[in-house]
């Protein structure tokens, strides 16, 4: 533990606490959580289902703690398919050993093909045969990203693999997700949601979550619409008509009202930008319905041309 001082943990804890909207009072607890993971008490096993690795790449964009801390110490990352030096049967042995040892946090990235086992294999075995043990023996399961949380794009209408989120898969295996599963949706997931959930769980245990969605309140309580910097345009009914215009992006397709996440506060990529600021309508990428229905398109440009399975109120959610 010679590497990081208490003060540095507090600094990172403060940054995380600000990210959660928890206020400075929460910083010491989070610093404890970080310290506990740092000292190797908490192992993290990372498995990929039907994923694009975007959530792993997003995790590497983490700051405070940055990638070095994450990779070498913060996570005690026993296995990660994109980062681990190990490969082949040695990798499978490492995964099996971790599962047998138990007492780890399991992070799952990607959806689970419940109707086509061959659609995701690991070391020649269907993931669906490896995952149940890994889920049962984990202290905590984190579904990283919308595919793992709710099925995401692989579960979109017309899919043939029966892609499902981790929670649905747990239930089909008779594993109770309550007090065990934390869903961190996003396409990709924001690095703070993963790092923050790990740190919180290591220090204080299972976080407060939405009772239906299992999403931690600290990141997913308010909608993008609620905290949108363009909200004043919405109130004045000043809508952008073309991409690149000022104004509320709702008529272009913005799904901010349906997307519960704190993007307006933390933004993306070190705070250099985020969707609404760039004039890009929110795609609703943290919502359970993200990309699910064919007829529920991201943009509204084509709306006048075809019958749509929604009305304007469906896109507004609870917003009025």
């Amino acid at each position: 533990m010679a590497n990081y001082s208490r003060r540095e943990f507090l600094r990172m804890g403060t940054v995380l606490a600000a990210g959660f909207g928890l206020g400075r009072a929460a910083a010491p607890a989070l610093a404890d959580g970080l310290q506990r993971i740092f000292s190797g008490q908490k192992r993290v096993l990372w498995l990929q289902g039907q994923s694009c690795s975007g959530c792993s790449v997003s995790l590497l964009n983490s700051e405070d703690p940055g990638p070095l801390e994450l990779l070498t110490e913060f996570m005690s990352l026993v296995y990660h398919p994109t980062i681990s030096a190990t490969q082949g049967s040695q990798a499978i042995d490492t995964i099996q050993k971790a599962i047998q040892t138990g007492g780890y946090f399991l992070v799952v990235e990607g959806s689970i093909p419940t109707k086509m086992a061959a659609a995701c294999e690991l070391g020649g075995r269907p993931l669906t045969t490896i995952l149940p043990d890994a889920l049962r023996r984990a202290d905590l399961v984190i579904a990283a990203g919308s595919c793992a949380a709710f099925g995401g794009i692989p579960a979109g209408e017309g899919n043939e693999t029966g892609a499902a989120g981790v929670g649905e898969f747990m239930q089909s295996c008779g594993i109770e997700p309550r007090q065990r599963l934390v869903n961190c949706p996003g396409c990709p997931v924001h690095p703070q949601s993963i790092v923050g959930t790990l740190a919180y769980a290591a220090s204080k245990g299972y976080p407060d979550v939405n009772s239906e969605l299992f999403t931690p309140d600290m990141f997913y309580k308010n909608s993008v619409h609620d905290d949108c910097p363009r909200f004043h345009y919405w109130q004045k009914q000043e809508f952008a008509e073309h991409f690149g215009d000022e104004g509320c992006l709702f008529k272009l397709g913005c799904l901010g009202p349906l997307s519960h996440t704190n993007c307006p506060q933390r933004q993306w990529n070190g705070g250099v930008n985020w969707c609404i600021r760039a004039g890009a309508p929110c795609l609703g990428c943290t919502s359970p319905g993200f990309a699910r229905q064919q007829a529920f398109s991201f943009y509204r440009k084509g709306e006048k041309h075809h019958a749509v399975a929604y009305n304007e109120q469906d896109r507004k959610g609870g917003a009025s």
């Binding site: 590497n3 190797g40 994923s51 694009c52 690795s53 975007g54 959530c55 790449v57 997003s58 590497l60 964009n61 700051e63 940055g66 990638p67 990779l71 070498t72 110490e73 005690s76 990352l77 296995y79 990660h80 398919p81 994109t82 980062i83 681990s84 030096a85 190990t86 490969q87 082949g88 040695q90 490492t94 971790a98 959806s111 086509m116 659609a119 070391g123 020649g124 979109g156 209408e157 017309g158 043939e160 693999t161 892609a163 991409f243 690149g244 990529n269 070190g270 250099v272 930008n273 985020w274 969707c275 760039a278 004039g279 890009a280 795609l283 990428c285 398109s297 943009y299 084509g302 075809h306």
Partner: protein, 510 residues
Amino acid sequence: MSSSVTVSPLTRIEGHLAVHTETEPLAEENAGHRVTIARCAGEMFRGFERILQGRDPMDAQQITQRICGVCPVSHGIASVRAQEMAYGIRPNHNGRLLQNLIFAANYLQSHILHFYHLAALDFVDVTAILKYTGADRALRAVKAWVESALSREDAFAAAPFLPRYEADYVKSDDRNVALLGHYVEALDMRRICHEMGAVFGARLPHSTALIPGGVTQVPTLERVLTYRARLKRVAEFVESVYIPDLLEVAQEFPSYFDIGHGCGNYLCYGVFELNDSGEKLIPPGVVIDGKWEALEPRNISEDVACSRYASGTPRHPSEGITEPEPERSGAYSWLKAPRYRGRVMEVGPLARVVANYMNPKETWIKREVDAVIGSLKLPVNKLFSVLGRHVARGLECRWIAAQASRWLDAIELDAPATCDFDLCERGEGYGLTEAPRGALGHWLTIEDYRIARYQCVVPTTWNCSPRDGQGQPGPVETALEGALLQNPEQPIEIGRIVRSFDPCLACAVH
């Protein structure tokens, strides 16, 4: 006696790849095994092409970016090109520049990530950190962490860097420690590249600002300066760290200029549009049997003889179908097998270099490459190798960083980067571009304002393709066949050869 050697999962690439080989021991005892047959198997399928059917075409540049989290922008660009062709529009001046700048940022990110975080651990000895005596804060932290993990006899000591295959790593401790230091620095660099991409692309991975005809972000002076400050740091890293490291690894492992030759045919669609006439910074070209020819997209087809799909004759992607049949006999991979005029083709940075080096109309790339291989004192055919692929990738970073600076200069500040367009009731289009790891094409058919057909032929689909109906192995399979494995129990050579292609399996299968 022949035996089989399998690496499954082959980690430190994107996605789920298994490599199966059959090997023969050399006559001399303990001299190693020779690979006689190699098979690459993609082990994950989602069905994007089917999921896209029936959707609003404008969903495509968002949905297809999610094919791959390492190169989402490439799919976004291919998709907007296909749509732009169908709608009959072109990005305006700013739209083209901003798309290029987002794309350039992701190229730099991807190449740096590949060399340092995916490939380097095949060459660098991480345990050398224990002998580190210097004062660098990050390296001292890594050393203390490894020491404490080892002293606790933690069963997972120094994961994710250990365990690993024991093999012939870089010998000098100083050099290993320097390379590890650069591994750490490169983590920051690739993150900064993503910040650059987000400056105009809203965020990365998965840029939401990318739309047909341009980019939603309006370029302001503040945006340009934010990008430029980061680009400067990355460009300096490429020149003063990445390229020297590449050359050091090349010097330490010269045999890898003779290993992993591949199929010897190269395909490049060209990338980074410079003007409305479609001229590209890296022009397209095809090299078959050592002869250059102009690209003709009609010559592309996909074969599924050994792929886990309902069988049929090879089809052009504009007529392609994707009908999964996981248990079909004889099928061993979820990848289709794309072919050009029925031939096996390598794609990627090396293919881009070769397709331009061999172009009878001499491009600037030939002069650049001649200068580099001149300084390495290598005959040009040594580039057709594991190290050649790494060198091509490094050179590309240099070229792209320089060009990105010029694109920033050319931006018309505070002017929109979008154009007006109408959707079309029916239409067809295709978008050909180059992802960091090679030639990428999307083919789109629109009927009744909806997607009737969408097919993606992706870089790693070419490179890691299985055998086709003619029995021709794919490029990576070809590169593996004939390779020598010093120790078949720890076949590090397989990983070195396969990773030189920078495979992305989520792309390849989608």
